[in-house]
Amino acid sequence: MRMREKLILRVVSKALIPFILLFALYVQFHGDFGPGGGFQAGVIFAAGLVLYGVIFGLSSLEHVVSPRLVEIGMALGVLIFAGVGIACLVIGAEQEGVGNFLDYNVLGSHGGEGVDAHGQHLGILLVELGVGVTVAFSMLAIFYMFAGRSRPEDDA
């Protein structure tokens, strides 16, 4: 309740949160070029959403990201990661008879002979996306659990 009366906090955070989320996406998809990657991006994305939850209350955040979605998202990231690995296995087996788990070279255009830059690029991008999704939703899950415990005081 005290938090909700702070007009300046509300206005400033409303202006900032979109940029925090955008920055997280930049770190996510620019991780192969500059510092950063899925882990950092996931944490920043979660931090933006947590800021929203801290200022506007946990129930408003649960409207945006439902607890059910958080539970699904946590597992989805690892599924994306492992799925890329299995896709490499299957595509490699199709092309050369033998596929290797997480061998991104086969994802490229010229059939996995030696190092395929495009295949590696695609593989890294997808795998980092998986890391980012799992990290973001895991951090949110932990925040939900902690904030949910102290909710009675929050809402009172």
């Binding site: 690029h121 890391v131 659990m145 902690f146």
Partner: protein
């Protein structure tokens, strides 16, 4: 060189203050500052990715989680009598750790095993020659060359979150709890 010294001094001072503070809110904020100073040190050592992680996790999310925990407990630490045994354990552990670092190669040593081993030389050569589209070698090593490890780490994060969900989750009971406590809140 001097800026490293200043940062190390700040790091040391912050650690001592955290250990002596009784106000847990201030201590939680200072742990965030500790992480931020560490991130500055990592940046000076050219470990930008590590610094990024330290700033995002140590100074960002973990401070928020600390504050979340604080809202469930008291704000001040209980006064406790000074005891020698914990101090002794900390001093011995610290001495062992420092002795351990004596065996480590000097900072930036070209002859360090990490720079000399053929696997790492191969990583660097492959990235430079074949993967010029991906200039950040840290990302290439983490996501491609060491993809198995990263898959394992991601699974560890998922497992940790599931652990927290299992320990604190109990959705059905929480709903019942919040119903009864909102009644109590209405009374007060």
């Amino acid at each position: 060189m001097p800026i490293e010294l200043i940062l190390f001094f700040l790091l040391f001072a912050t650690a001592v203050v955290i250990a002596r503070l009784k106000d847990l809110f201030a201590a939680a904020m200072l742990t965030g500052i500790f992480s931020l100073v560490s991130a500055g040190l990592f940046t000076l050592m050219d470990a930008v990715d590590v610094a990024f992680t330290e700033a995002a996790v140590g100074a960002g999310i973990s401070t928020i989680l600390m504050l979340g925990t604080l809202s469930m407990t008291a704000r001040n630490e209980n006064q406790q009598p000074f005891r020698w045994l914990p101090l002794l354990v900390v001093l011995i552990t610290g001495a062992v750790l420092i002795t351990g670092t004596m065996d480590m190669p000097a900072y930036g040593d070209f002859h360090a095993p990490a720079h000399q081993h053929e696997i790492y030389a191969g990583f660097i050569e492959t990235t430079e020659q074949e993967l010029e589209h991906i200039p950040n070698i840290v990302t290439v090593i983490l996501a491609s060359f060491r993809g198995y490890d990263t898959l394992g780490e991601t699974t560890v994060i998922l497992t940790a979150a599931i652990g927290v969900l299992l320990l604190l989750g109990d959705r059905g009971r929480r709903r019942a709890d919040s119903d009864s406590s909102s009644d109590a809140g209405g009374d007060s």
